[in-house]
């Protein structure tokens, strides 16, 4: 999905920031670090904006260098987004964030969407996070994701074609494998 946005990004002058939440990195994936990573991707496209450079230089002097504060990051995000034609922010697997990080993250993202009409948000997560997300984004469009049978079929074909022991395969076995897998997937 991110690649397809990127393919058309250059001609349409769109900026894209995306982040995959990861259970293994959940301690590190705080709201500050996530918003910082989004800003980093947006400013990484060109020259570092003046306000970002100044905030960095000031923080470096204070107490021998402190990290950015959320309020600072939000201010820098607003000015950066305002300087861009359109911005897509994609965050995958919100359910892999620590639950205590989510309220802050959702309200920061909501502030961005409210204050920056050019910013759009694409989120994914397991169904239990959907209710949380809808509390913050009551008008969000929900797209249910279920396994797509064509996708699965192509995938199984690809895997069977690459089977390291092709002599053990025949048409009957191939058809059986496909049938069983597709039946299981349909029950998901």
């Amino acid at each position: 999905m991110i690649d397809s946005l990127c393919d058309r990004a250059e001609e349409e002058n769109i900026a894209i920031a995306g982040l995959y939440c990861d259970f293994l990195a959940r301690q590190e994936q705080t709201t500050i670090n996530i918003m910082g990573a989004i800003l980093k991707q947006l400013v990484g496209r060109g020259d570092v904006p003046k306000d970002v450079r100044e905030a960095f230089q000031k923080a470096k002097k204070d107490f021998g260098g402190r990290g950015p504060r959320l309020a600072d990051l939000m201010g820098m995000l607003r000015t950066t987004i305002a300087s861009l034609p359109r911005v897509f922010i994609c965050i995958d697997a919100l359910d892999e964030c620590l639950p205590e990080h989510l309220p802050d993250l959702f309200s920061s993202l909501r502030d961005i969407v409210r204050e920056c009409p050019k910013a759009k948000l694409f989120l994914t997560g397991r169904p239990h996070v959907r209710e949380d997300a809808l509390r913050y984004f009551s008008k969000a469009v929900v797209i249910p994701i279920s396994p797509n049978l064509d996708d699965i079929q192509n995938y199984v074909d690809m895997k069977l074609d690459r089977d390291p022991e092709p002599e053990a395969m025949n048409d009957g076995l191939r058809a059986d494998i496909m049938k069983v897998i597709l039946e299981r997937v349909s029950d998901m």
Partner: protein, 71 residues
């Protein structure tokens, strides 16, 4: 990128989301998930101009359904 620019990038966040994206795009099977890109809801989200109403899409699905990718 100058030294200071690189330092600013590290200061903004220790997370490096581009790395994860690079490994996912290498692993993923092409064409998978294209149905999502063709959905009306997705195209409206993608194409709408400055509309707060259509600003947010939430894709919801069970583990293994294919929200991130299929490999």
């Amino acid at each position: 990128m100058s030294n200071e620019d690189a330092e600013i990038m590290r200061w903004l966040s220790p997370l490096e989301p581009n790395n994860r994206h690079q490994s996912l795009r290498t692993d993923r099977l092409g064409g998978v998930g294209d149905w999502l890109l063709d959905m009306r809801e997705f195209r409206e989200w993608r194409g709408s101009e400055d509309g707060v109403d259509k600003a947010v899409v939430f894709c919801s699905g069970n583990p293994g359904a294919g929200k991130t990718y299929l490999r």
